[in-house]
């Protein structure tokens, strides 16, 4: 947390020309990141952006911090090794739905369960952009693409549900077009110790244009988006009169002022795993609005902290050889004279 920013947005802009397609949602995400970072840190030399392969993974080149553009799907491995070796750093991982969930799916789930203290920005455009338009593991079933002319057969992942299933301790969702919300989610992630996972809906205007238009178009968005905030009732709708009510253990959408009052509306508790699970189930549902915000956030010991603790404990308690020379000379030895 920064009390008084000393850096400016420009300090986070690198000298490299940005090369995404004009109109790509990535531009907005980059700009909001650069804008919010002065509020996140005063020491940009401690910031590292690590990515895999894909459109989103070009991101580190455009941030004037340390950056490492690694190989397809493997950014979590490099980021984990970096954070373990150098726990002082603020490590950010930029990935996409293909990089993070297809080729790199294994690393992603293990990162989340280990809870290494780093931040994941997963750009989900539900398509492969860099390889020119094949379906991704978050594409809806039946997607017509170059590789699936008759429609894709595979059923998609639900990213926030997957993250929760992998025991993620911070799971949030936002969207490229809602600039303030995007900024606030990045800030929240930075403040959380442990693996912070943000799914960012991002429009690919070339290969999957309009994938999230329901959530961004003026006419539909207020009916389709539920902004969740800790301690606040789950209210949405054009008139702000719709809400989520729990009927027993079943959530339902109700209209305030009809059979239910504001007191009947579920209040978001981001530390409640059941609420987190419930909200993640709203994704791609016809009945429920799309929840944006921090779905779930709890403090859990981080892998890197636990490792530091073990190292200290070992140093304190080990009885055996203390120096390398002792160790070289340990065991049964004998002299040849």
């Amino acid at each position: 947390m920064v009390d008084k920013p000393v850096l400016k947005k420009a300090d986070f802009e690198s000298d490299q020309a940005v090369r995404w397609c004009p109109g790509c949602g990535d531009y907005a995400i980059l700009a909001q990141t650069q804008k919010i970072f002065p509020e996140i840190t005063t020491e940009k030399e401690k910031v590292v952006f690590i990515s895999g392969i894909g459109c989103s993974s070009r991101f580190p080149y455009y941030m004037n911090t340390y950056g490492f553009h690694t190989i397809h799907g493997r950014a979590p491995t490099v980021a984990s090794g970096l954070k373990i070796s150098n726990p002082d750093l603020s490590v950010w991982l930029v990935t996409g739905d293909g990089d993070g969930f297809s080729i790199g799916g294994n690393h992603m789930i293990h990162l989340l369960r280990r809870n290494v203290d780093l931040n994941v920005m997963l750009f989900n455009n539900r398509i492969y952009g860099l390889t020119k338009g094949q379906y991704s593991p978050t594409s809806e079933q039946g997607k017509i693409t170059y590789s699936t002319p008759m429609g894709s057969l595979d059923y998609p992942f639900n990213p926030t549900k997957l993250a929760l299933g992998a025991r993620g301790a911070f799971v949030a969702k936002t969207i490229d077009r809602d600039l303030k919300h995007l900024q606030s989610m990045i800030k929240r992630a930075s403040e959380h110790r442990g693996t912070s996972f943000i799914e960012i809906y991002q429009n690919c205007n070339i290969f999957n244009d309009g994938a999230f238009s329901e959530l961004t178009d003026k006419e539909t968005k207020s009916e389709r988006v539920l902004k969740v905030e800790h301690g606040e009732p789950m209210i949405f709708g054009k008139e702000n009169n719709k809400g989520i009510h729990l009927d027993g253990i079943k959530p339902q959408v109700v209209t305030i002022g009809e059979k239910h009052s504001i007191d009947d509306i579920l209040v978001h508790d981001e530390t409640d795993a059941f609420i987190g699970d419930m909200l993640s189930n709203f994704t791609a549902s016809d009945t429920f609005p799309e929840p944006l915000g921090v779905l779930y956030c709890v403090e859990r010991p981080t892998y890197d902290d636990l490792m530091v603790e073990q190292m200290k404990e070992a140093e304190k308690n080990t009885k055996g050889p203390k120096s390398v020379n002792d160790l070289l000379n340990a065991g049964d030895t004998w002299e040849v004279k």
């Binding site: 490492f68 553009h69 493997r74 490099v78 750093l89 190292m311 004998w334």
Partner: protein
């Protein structure tokens, strides 16, 4: 009871302990090794265990063995055919009897020759009853089960536990035969089972029972004395390749003041490196068991990017998975050490058996022009020096380095002259620092080595981006220009070639010119050296060169090859190093190739050299 026992002094002996996986043969072998080391013999060992964790008891698949060759002379191999075979059950006899030298000593645990065990081993008739063994070998049938049962009478432990002390009984017999002290083993038992006095008591009694059996049974009439070996002066310990590699890593950490992050995924026969280092947290070594092989090398590379030395270890199949990351390490020019403990391939192959068949994989196995230095330790103890050098040069040249170890080296052991870390090559590390007068250029190079600087996150003013896309010379920016690519490919190759200037002068053992040069790499060293010694004693014009560095090769090697009429390259593969040597030097090298899951034997090499000399 006094009996007439004569002592006979001999130069060297090879003993093989063989039994069921549950019979504790590795323990017997290990204790015999330790004792022989302490009494001052030179020695070399070869454990051999099944790939299955718990193969059915008594089955052929479940046989485990341990061979030790010990001597009053300097030796280089774990021996070929054993002079003594200890067979704890019918399956062990079936598997190993064919290797025992004619007239050799055979010690058989008679109690294990039950109908069930005989059937499991595929014997129709009991070979201990039909006289066949006695005719060909100096055979001793010992009822070890009975011996330990009697010895352990009165100790309150289950009979199953008593039966498990048979391996100590067998060891006791061998200790008697070779006149070795029991104390080191008793001390070890006391240490190992500190909180279980009954177990200690049972094992000590079993050990003594075996020893006393040798002493009193009329059947043993000769004890063999193997004197101390004349090894170079100094302090010794027994050393296996796993521990040696780990000590090499630790010494590198101490001399460089670098943090070490070891990240790996369990795989036979490399896992023990992870286990050993995981116990050394007090020395600041961080270990990370990753979710898969790829994550292991990725985390190691991430650690190196962050200013620690990242290390990973695996075996062939795991190295295959790590390959893409090796390319990234080449492109981003970060230090990284990758230890490949080779095993039989292809695919899952022979997980517990040794082979030298990942040479091409190490030297060539990547997409694009991706040169990586490759160093191969030659003996278990040499794993220390090879791993240390790999760490040092990875940092000095900002490159991944592959250490080509193998199953034989990591599990085998030898007496090891404990080195003085102060006498190793210096290992200094300088991280890049901000220079206010000059813009930081990540791919600006040291003029001599061509290495770029190591600029680690957290350093003010050096913020920069790296990645797998082609780099512009000097700036390190992404660049697709054709001339730049050509230049960068050449620079990366030249940087690795420059390492040749670090290599010591190549030593020729034996004749400096003549009829045949035996050229070996890695763990084939021992068999080749033993063969050369034998051939030289017959006044043949033979030399031996043992190669550590395969990439780059020593600069003076070409000149040496030309001094012999013929060059023979024995290796445990179908001729991979031979192809490299032929390509590099246009020398018509001849191969001696065996892939039988074990190190080469010296006798075949000797025969081959003689055939070559005879034309």
């Amino acid at each position: 009871m006094a009996k007439n026992v004569s002592n006979k002094t001999i130069d060297n002996v090879t003993i093989r302990f063989a039994g069921d996986s549950g019979d504790g043969m590795q323990l017997s072998g290990g204790r015999f090794t330790q004792t022989s080391a302490v009494v001052g013999n030179d020695l070399s060992t070869l454990p051999d265990f099944p790939a299955e964790i718990r193969a059915p008891a008594g089955s052929l698949a479940g046989v485990s063995s341990f061979q030790i060759h010990f001597s009053s002379q300097e030796i280089h191999t774990p021996g070929e055919k054993p002079d003594v075979l200890v067979a704890m059950n019918p399956a062990a006899l079936k598997v190993h009897l064919k290797d025992l030298v004619p007239g050799g000593t055979l010690i058989v645990n008679k109690n294990a020759f039950t109908k069930k065990n005989l059937t499991l081993a595929g014997y129709e008739d009991d070979p201990t009853e039909d006289g066949s063994l006695v005719d060909y070998y100096s055979t001793h049938f010992i009822e070890m089960g009975k011996l330990v049962t009697n010895a352990c009478e009165g100790i309150d432990i289950p009979s199953k536990m008593v039966d498990r002390t048979k391996n100590l009984c067998a060891l006791g017999v061998l200790f008697w035969m070779y006149d070795r002290p029991l104390e080191p083993t008793i001390d070890w038992l006391n240490q190992k089972f500190k909180s279980k006095p009954d177990i200690i008591e049972a094992n000590v009694r079993a050990l003594n029972a075996g020893y006393n059996y040798g002493d009193t049974a009329e059947i043993f009439t000769t004890r063999f004395i193997v004197e101390k070996a004349k090894l170079p002066k100094g302090k010794y310990r027994n050393m296996n390749g796993t521990l040696a590699s780990c000590l090499g890593i630790l010494t590198a950490a101490e001399k460089s003041n670098l943090g070490i992050t070891f990240a790996g995924y369990p795989i036979t026969p490399a896992s023990n490196i992870l286990h050993t280092l995981s116990n050394w947290k007090q020395f600041g070594i961080k270990t990370y068991q990753a979710e898969d092989e790829i994550a292991g090398i990725g985390a190691a590379l991430g650690a190196s990017y962050g200013g620690a030395l990242g290390i990973t270890a695996s075996s062939g199949p795991g190295i295959a998975l790590k390959t893409e990351f090796l390319g990234l390490a080449v492109m981003t020019e970060l230090p990284l050490v990758v230890i490949n403990v080779q095993r039989g391939g292809p695919s899952t192959g022979l997980p517990t058996k040794t082979e030298q068949s990942d040479l091409f994989q190490a030297v060539y196995g990547r997409n694009g022009e991706a040169p990586i230095p490759v160093i191969a330790p030659t003996t278990p103890g040499d794993c220390f020096f090879a791993t240390y050098e790999a760490c040092r040069l990875a940092v000095k040249y900002m490159t991944p380095v592959i250490v080509l170890s193998d199953g034989y080296l990591v599990n085998g052991s030898e007496p090891w002259l404990i080195p003085d870390p102060n006498k190793l090559e210096e290992f200094k590390v300088e991280f890049a620092q901000e220079d206010k007068d000059e813009q930081f250029l990540p791919y600006k190079r040291d003029e001599e080595t061509l290495a770029r600087s190591w600029a680690i996150p957290g350093t003010k003013g050096l913020e920069h981006r790296i990645g797998g896309l082609e780099k512009q010379d000097v700036t390190g920016n992404v660049n697709y220009d054709s001339d730049n690519h050509q230049k960068m490919v050449q620079i990366r190759a030249q940087k690795i070639a420059n390492i040749a200037s670090e290599l010591p002068e190549t030593k020729v053992f034996g004749e400096k010119s003549g009829d045949v040069l035996i050229l070996s790499w890695g763990s084939s060293h021992g068999a080749c050296r033993a063969a050369t010694e034998s051939l030289l004693s017959e006044n043949l014009k033979v030399g031996h060169v043992s190669i550590n560095w395969i990439s780059p090769l020593p600069k003076d090697l070409g000149g040496i090859l030309n001094k012999y009429k013929k060059v023979l390259i024995p290796e445990v593969n179908t001729g991979q190093f031979r192809q490299i040597i032929r390509a590099e030097y246009l020398v018509d090298a001849i191969g001696l190739n065996e892939v039988q899951g074990k190190p080469l034997g010296a006798s075949k090499i000797e025969k081959k050299v003689k055939d070559l000399i005879d034309g």
